[in-house]
């Protein structure tokens, strides 16, 4: 366990060491890259007056709401499209077209249509998370091993039984990968959306710090965003291992 901890955090310690030594030796311009103790002091102050917690909670709430909405739409849609070959043919080109438009490119239009309120930010999250969730669900359902489906046939399972007992469980690993990717994508795009238009949230905190020339607070924001993303992914991974004990696949986050 100790070895695992050292190995998995080694890169962080190394970066911190280089950053500290460089700052002590005066190698970095303190405005462009503030020393770690200044960033730490900034973080302590923001944490102390509750600002950091407030911005983090706002961002987390947004991402979870947007992600939940995406799952509610993308999962059933993906299952339906995965089961129907003809729908795939019809929808492939339009979906590929949409897939290549980054959600951030749509932000100006979304702000124009829905204002700078929560709606447009939720839509950005949904647009970012939709394709990983949807496409992995479609792939998982459509690529179910036909030999397993034949087992269902010879055991006299009806179509509904085959879907429920064979196709969906077989697609689950792929669906889990999609959910995990989707969660990461929505977290990143949310921060992007908050940079453009928001009155609270970690993205807003960063843009505000930029306007007040506080690179240390920008750094705090970056570290917190990365850290929370890491934590979200870890929670998701733990839940996966608990819910799918037989599954030891590639959902370990290397994509």
């Amino acid at each position: 366990m100790a070895v695992f901890f050292i190995k998995s955090t080694a890169v962080f310690w190394l970066v911190l060491a280089v950053w500290t030594c460089g700052s002590l030796l005066g190698l970095f311009n303190t405005y462009l890259l503030p020393p770690p103790w200044k960033v730490a002091a900034g973080a302590m102050k923001l944490a102390g007056d509750g600002t950091l917690l407030r911005h983090s909670l706002v961002s987390l709430a947004r991402v979870l709401a947007g992600f939940a909405a995406t799952v509610l739409i993308g999962l059933p849609l993906g299952i339906w499209v995965g089961l129907n070959h003809s729908t795939r043919t019809v929808l492939k080109a339009p979906l590929d077209f949409c897939r290549h438009i980054p959600p951030l490119a749509l932000t100006p239009l979304l702000i124009l249509w829905f204002g700078i309120g929560e709606t447009s930010k939720l839509l950005v999250i949904m647009l970012a998370a939709f394709f990983p969730v949807f496409l992995n669900t479609v792939g998982g359902v459509a690529n179910c091993d036909p030999r397993l489906i034949e087992v269902g046939q010879v055991l006299n399972l009806g179509r509904y039984g085959r879907i429920r007992r064979i196709i969906l469980p077989a697609a689950l690993p792929s669906i889990v990968v999609g959910l995990r990717l989707g969660l990461g994508f929505s977290w990143r795009s949310l921060i992007g959306a908050e940079l453009l238009a928001a009155a609270a949230g970690l993205g807003y905190m960063i843009i505000e710090a930029e306007q007040f020339s506080r690179p240390d607070i920008v750094m705090v924001g970056i570290v917190v965003i990365g850290g929370l993303g890491l934590a979200l992914d870890a929670v998701f991974g733990a839940a996966t291992r608990r819910l799918l004990p037989w599954y030891r696949g590639t959902a370990d986050g290397w994509h």
Partner: protein, 256 residues
Amino acid sequence: MAGIEIHRLHKRFCLQGKTLTALQDLSLSVADESFVTIVGQSGCGKTTLLRLICALETLDAGTMVFTTCNPKRTRADTRVSIVFQEPRLMPWLTVKQNMAMALHAEKDPERVDNLVGDCLHMLGLEAFAGAYPHQLSGGMAQRVALGRTLCYDPDVILMDEPFGALDAFTRRRLQAELIAIFLTRKKTIVFVTHDVDEALILGQRVLVLKSGRLALDVAVDLPYPKDIGSDAFYGLRRLLMETVCSGPDDWQCRPN
């Protein structure tokens, strides 16, 4: 219980634009509660025949009926199931759950538990009831697949080279278990193999398929367990070998 009557069966496949005949003009009957083995080279149509019997393929011409001594039962009542070449277990289910899957129509969970428990006991799988397929050896996995089919309790059990991928020792044991199951449960079993010895050890009757036709139909009048050192066994073995190996190779005239 049920037997099978097959009359003038034809089956063709389209492969890369070419039509190839898998089975032609095949007629045979399998008696109720009998153990029939089918041997032949790869590509002779053995697997296709089994897939037709369990309705995974449709026939192009000919008829196939299930016969039964019970006049109240119709064709639709006949339960046919197959043990495939590979175990084909659901990786997300434990051994016990995989076997219980065959009892999906059974509403009473206690009855499911009992039936699965009996099967686990008969196949010596009790210690592995909670294991997942990836934790099993090949022989164990194939045993679970057999258990799943037995739980389904079909009238006709089809087996498509189920022991082909196993080592000689495991295969020997599973053959003995299968014979014991046949003798106690009185099922109709159609067992496909490319191994002439296996066909003779298991079957009461051996059919040789050659290029989609029936080349030989021979009764094996030896009591179980068969004495593989006996002259009768040896004579049959020689006859089968000659029939299987004579003429052009099947895989040459028919790809796949």
